[in-house]
Symmetry: C2
Subunit: 780 residues, 2 copies
Amino acid sequence: MNKYLKIDPWCIIEEGFDSKRHQSSESIFSIGNGLIGQRANFEEDYSGKSLQGTYVAGVYYPDKTKVGWWKNGYPEYFAKVLNATNFIGIRIFVNGDALDLAKCKVLSFQRVLNMKLGVLSRNFVVEMPSGKQVEVTTSRFLSMAVPETGAIHYSLSPVNADVEIKFVPYLDGNVINEDANWDEVFWDQVTHEINGKEGYIVSRTKKTEFEIACGMFIKAFLDGKEILQNPMNVARAGYVEAAFKVKVAKKSRLAVYKHVAVLSSLYHDRKVILDHTKQVLKKSGETGFEKLLMAHVAKWATIWEHSDIVIEGDDEAQQGIRFNIFHLNQTYRGDDPRLNIGPKGFTGEKYGGSTYWDTEAFCIPFFLCTAPASVTRNLLLYRYKHLGKAIENGRKLGFTGGAALYPMVTINGEECHNEWEITFEEIHRNGAIAFAIYNYVRHTGDHNYLIEYGLEVLIAISRFWSQRVNWSDEKKQYVMLGVTGPNEYENNVNNNWYTNTLASWTLQYTIETIELVKHVDPSKYKGLIKKIRFKEREESSCWKDIIAKMYYPYLESEGIFLQQEGYMDKEQMTTEQLDPAQRPLNQKWSWDRILRSCFIKQADVLQGIYLFEEKYDTETILRNFDFYETRTVHESSLSPCIHVVLAARLGKMELAHRLYLRTSRLDIDDYNNEVSEGLHITSMAGTYLAIIEGFAGKRVREGRLVLNPQIPASWKTFAFKILFRDSQLKVDISKKKVVITNESAISVEVNVYNNDYAVASRSTVEIKRNKNNMGYELNK
Amino acid sequence: MNKYLKIDPWCIIEEGFDSKRHQSSESIFSIGNGLIGQRANFEEDYSGKSLQGTYVAGVYYPDKTKVGWWKNGYPEYFAKVLNATNFIGIRIFVNGDALDLAKCKVLSFQRVLNMKLGVLSRNFVVEMPSGKQVEVTTSRFLSMAVPETGAIHYSLSPVNADVEIKFVPYLDGNVINEDANWDEVFWDQVTHEINGKEGYIVSRTKKTEFEIACGMFIKAFLDGKEILQNPMNVARAGYVEAAFKVKVAKKSRLAVYKHVAVLSSLYHDRKVILDHTKQVLKKSGETGFEKLLMAHVAKWATIWEHSDIVIEGDDEAQQGIRFNIFHLNQTYRGDDPRLNIGPKGFTGEKYGGSTYWDTEAFCIPFFLCTAPASVTRNLLLYRYKHLGKAIENGRKLGFTGGAALYPMVTINGEECHNEWEITFEEIHRNGAIAFAIYNYVRHTGDHNYLIEYGLEVLIAISRFWSQRVNWSDEKKQYVMLGVTGPNEYENNVNNNWYTNTLASWTLQYTIETIELVKHVDPSKYKGLIKKIRFKEREESSCWKDIIAKMYYPYLESEGIFLQQEGYMDKEQMTTEQLDPAQRPLNQKWSWDRILRSCFIKQADVLQGIYLFEEKYDTETILRNFDFYETRTVHESSLSPCIHVVLAARLGKMELAHRLYLRTSRLDIDDYNNEVSEGLHITSMAGTYLAIIEGFAGKRVREGRLVLNPQIPASWKTFAFKILFRDSQLKVDISKKKVVITNESAISVEVNVYNNDYAVASRSTVEIKRNKNNMGYELNK
C-alpha cells in the first residue's frame, strides 16, 4: 500500500515528480468519456518509463492465440482493444533543447485529476540543462458533452530568461500494443493530411478493418495575442505535425490550444469519416476551449447529481468512492449496446479491454442505481446481440439444440480466452448473465424486456444448463462435473455449490418467465418458440426434473453449503494461520499448491448467498459467512465487496468497514503494486455496492426498495441518490437518523428497518435510528 | 491406417515416389546410432515438403517458454534437442539442371531400410526437364561400430545420353528448428574450414554452448577410377562445399563416397574438438566405405542376436516387431548416463527429445530383457544424477527436507513442461522412477545398485509422497488431492487409485530397502543418512502410518478399484456406444467434454494392476479389466500394450492379438496420420512387452524367471532371447511346445506353466503345450 497521493474530497493530487511512480500515475490519472479514453501520458516527450495508451471504444484486433499446448476448443484469437493514435502530443523545445521530465531538473510538479470537472491538469517548473527555467501549466479533457472531441491547453512561461520556444503539436498513429502475442503491428495507415494548423490521420486496424480518423487543430497565443505564423508541416504515413517557433520573453506566457477529434468507423461510414472529422473539428474550434470545457463540466455535474456518494467525516473514504464512481462513468456511457466494460477500462492493455462476467455481477447493479434504465438495458442488449455466437460457442463444445454458452472473455461475442479450466469450465458466467436480466427487471420493473429479448436468452442458457448436468446413477441426483467456480483457486471441480445453485435458479426463473410472457403477450411467445424451436412441454419438464433433483454439496457437521465436493478433504486452515510472508498466495505459492489448499480467492458460496440472500435465514448466512470468510484471501479485487455486503447484513460493521477500505482505495493506494498496468474498473462497481448494498442495506424485494442503513463508526454521515423505477430518492444517513427525500414526481414506497414508508413526491421522510432500529436483527 | 509400405520380414520398402507421403517416409526410414540420428531426408536437393532433421544426442537448447497465461511454478524454458548440421547433403546437377525429385519426372523409385544391416538406401530413375535420364543408387549408414562416423555412397549412371554431372557435397550448419517457440536461431557458427575434398564446420549452441564439429571427406570414382581433380571450394559461416564437374557417358557410372564425422563437446574438449574430428575422419577415410559398413553390420548382428523376436507365419507382425526393436536400438546405446530416450527419438522435433516417464515404464523393461544390465543401469543413473535438481524442483513447489519431485519432461534434470495439470499434477512419474529401480534389481539381481544409488533416490521420492498426501479429517484417512493419473483425460482429480497405490508402494519398498541396506552395508547406510539428514525413526514411522491409512477409492457394487473419486458420477458408457465418427476423441471433442466423459485415454487402474499384478487374484484382475477396457479409447500410444499383457494374462488371446496389431504397426501403417512428425519410439518398447510379457507371459517372481507362453492363432511359432541375470535364454514357442535353450555358462531355473525347470548351461528343455498347459488358469 502506498500513501503517496494527497487526500482531497474531489481531487487526486500528486505533489512532486517521482519517475518510479509515473506509470502508476498514468493509470490513476486516466481520463475518458466512454468513447475515447487515455492514460495520463504527458503531452510533451518523455523518455522515462511510460505505458502509452489511447483507446477507442469497440475498436479491437484479433490477436492470434499464443499458448504452450493447444487444447481442442481453444479460440483462434484474443480480441484486444488497441492502443490508438496518440493525439495529445505536443513536443516542446526550449532554445532547441527538448523538454523532457526524465532529463530536466524538475523544480516543482503537481498533477491533479479533478473528478468533479473531469479535467486532468499539471503545473510544473523545470530547469533545462542550459539553466533556463520554464513554468508549464497543462489541462485537458475528453468531452463528456461532445464525445468525439477533446481539448488540451498547454501554456508555458519562462521564469528566468527570454527563450525561444519551439512547440510541435502532432498526431502519431504509428503506435503498438505492449500486450501483443506475436509483436504484430495492429494498424495500417490509410491516409494523412496536414494543412497549416490542421492535421489528420486515418488508420485502419488489420483484419478487423476498423477505421479511426483523428484530427487536430491548433491555436496559440502569446500573452493573449494569437500567433498568426504559418507552422512548418511534416507529414508521413501515420504522422503529421505542425511546428512553431516563438520567442517568449521572461514572464511572458505562451498558450497553445490543441483541439482534437477522434471518430471511428463504428459511427461513421469509412467513405466520409475524414470529412466528418473535419466538420467535428471545425465546430469544436469555433466553440472554443472555454465553452467546450463548460459543456463538459455541466455534463459531469449531471452524472454526479445521480451517482455521487457524499461521506462526511472521512475524506479518505470520500475520495476513494468518488474515484471509483468517476472512473466507471469515464468508461461506459450506456448509449451503445455494442460497447461494454473491460476490467481495466481505458486505463491499460491487460485483459484486452474485453468483457467478463464482472459486467453482469458488479457493474449492472451500479448502473441500475445511478443511471437511467436504458444504460443497463444496453448492457443486457450487448449479450442479447451475441446470443447467436453464444449458441455457436456451445455447439463448438458439443452442446446442441440452441444451447448457449456465453464466452468468458469477449469483445464481439466470440470466446477469446485460452485457459481450459476457465474458458470451458468457468461456466457460472452464463448464470450471471441470466441473473442480470432478473436483476434489471426487479429494479426497473421493465417486464417488456423479458418479452422482447430476455426470455430468448434465458431459454438458451437453460438449454445449456440442462445439457451440462448429467444424471449420476451413483447419487440418484443431477450433478455438474468439471467446473471452475468464482473461486478460481479451485479448478475442474465437481458440483460447485454456487454453479449448481445458479443453474437451478436459472431453470426456475426461465420457467417463471415463460409463464409470464405467455400470459402477457401470447402472440410474442408463440413467435419466439417457433423461432427457437422450443418444445415447451418436453424441455421444461426436463428442467423441472433437474430443479427437483439437483445435487447440492452440504456439510452437515457445520450446517454449511460446501463449496464443492471434496472440499473437506483438504487440510483445513484459516487465513489467520497463514504466515503473512506467504501472501499474496498467487505470488508466493506454486499453482498446484494453491489448488490443493483450502484458501479461497474470492467469494464463491458467499457469492451465491449474496445473490439469493432472501432464500436463507440469518443463522444459515452467519454459519456460512463465518466458515468461508476465514478461508478467503480476497486475491481478486471482486471479492471484498461481496463480503462487505454480507458482513453488514450480519451486523459485523467493523469487519465490513475493514474490508471496505481494502476495496475502495485499491488503486489510489496501489495495494497490490500493479496499478501501473491499469485500474480495476469493474471492481470499482463492487466498492459502490459495498456502500449501497452493504452499509445502506439496499435491496429490492417484491417490487419495493428496501433499505437497512448502518454507518461505519468513523463516518459522521453519508448520503447518496438512488434511481429506482421511475423515481429518484436521496438518502441521508447519520448516526441518529435516516432521511429519505423523494426528488421525483411520483410517490415511492420504501421499506426501512422493516417498516414501510410511502414517500410522496418531492417530500421527505425521517426515520430515527435507535437500538431497535439500526439495521439487521443481529446488530449489536 | 495406410497399407502403403511393402511387407518384408527384414526390410521397410517404399515402391514408387509419393511426395505427399515423403515426410512420413522421412520419419519411418530414419537412421541413427544412439549418438547421432537423422530423418530420411534426401542427399540431393528437394524442394517439396520435407522436415529436415539431424540430431546429436544430449545437445539441447533452452527454448524460452511460451504460454498464454503464466502459472506460478512454470519453468522458464523447454529444453529441446536441436536440428544440427546437415551433413548428408550432395547437390546434383545434370547438364546444369538441379536434380530435385519434386521437379523431375520420377520414372522409378525404391526406398529401402534394411533393418538387419542398419542401412538406408534408394534406387531411382529420373528424367530431367531436358529429357536426360539418370539412374541413381544411394546408401548410407550411421556407424554402430564407430558411433561418431557415418558414410554415404551416392552413385549415378546416365540412361539415355552422355551428360555433365556437377556434384556438390556440402556441410550446412545454418539450420533451424521448426519447433521453436520464438523462431529463434539456436546456433552460432564458430569456425569453418574447407581444403579440397575435406571440409569442417564447428557450431555452438546459444546459451548452452554445446559445440558440434562436423567433417566431410569426399572420394569419387568414374567407372571405378578415382577422380583426381581439385574441387571448387565454397566456404562461409556455417557452410562449406566442394564442387566437382564430371562428364559421364551414357551407361557409365559415377560413384561418390562422402565420409562424415560428427563430434560433440559432450565427449571432446572444445579446444581440440576440431582436431579430433580431423583424426576421426582421417581414420574413417583410411578404413574405407566397405570395411566401415562391415563393422557396422557386425555390430547390428550382435544387437539382433540379443533382441530379435522371430515370428513365423505372419510377416506383417514380424516386420512390425523388428521395426520397433530396430528403432529402439538406433535411439539408445546405453553407454552414457547423461543420455536418455525421447518419445520421438531422433526422428522428429516434437516433445523436444526430452525424457518422460516412458523411459522407466516402457523402455527399461525392454532393455532389461535385451541388453546387458549396464544399459538399464545407465538409465537409472540418469535419474540419480538429477536427484539434486529433482529436490530443487520439489522445493520450488513448496516441498521441504529433501523431497524430490522428478520433472515430467526434462533433458538436464530441470522441468521443462508447462501445462499445470501435467507439470505439477502428473506426479505418478515419481513412482515410475522408484518402480524402475525395483524392476531393475528384480531382473538383474544387482542389489549393489540400491546401496550405491537406489536408496538415496527412494528416500527422496518417499519424502515427497509423505508430504504430498494430507490427512482428511472427513475420511480419517490419507488422501492425495489434485493429481493427474496416466489417464490424461482426467485432470486435477482427487485420489487417483493408481497414484495412491504407487505412492504407498514406494513408501513400503523404501522401508524394505532401508532394512536391506542397513543389513548388507551398515557403514554405507550410516554415511547416507548423514548425507541426507534422514531421521529414520521419525520419517519411516510417518510413512508406515500413511501406508496403513491410505485411502483407495473402490467401487463396491462392481468389485473394482475406482480410477479416482467421483468417477461413477460420470455418465457411464462403453467405447462400443461411441459413434466411430466421434473418434479419436482428442480430435473431435473439446477438452472439457473429454474431461467430463468416462472415456480413458490410456491404462490407469490397469497400469497399476499391471505393475503389481501379483497382489491381485485373477477374478479381481478380470473384473477391473472388463470394466476399464470397455471404457479405454487408447488414444495414447502407450496404452494398448499394457492391455495386451493383461488380456493375455486373462487368456483373452483374441483381444490381446487385436490390441497388439494396433501397437506394433502404429508407425509403419501411420494409424493416426501423424507419423510425419516422427516415430513413437518409447511406445515401441511397449510393443516388445506386449509379446514378451503378454504372449510369452514373462515375469520375475521371487528372483526366478517365469513364463506362461501363449501364441496368437494366426502365428505358427515365435522365438526370442532373453537376458536374465547372468544368463541368456532362447525361447521357442509353437502351438505344441515351448523350448527353452540356455545359451549361457550357468544353469538357470525357469518356471513355465507353474512348473519349475532347471535349465542347465548350454542345454535345452522342452515343455509340451496341452489343455492343462497353455498359459493361465482362465484360458479357454
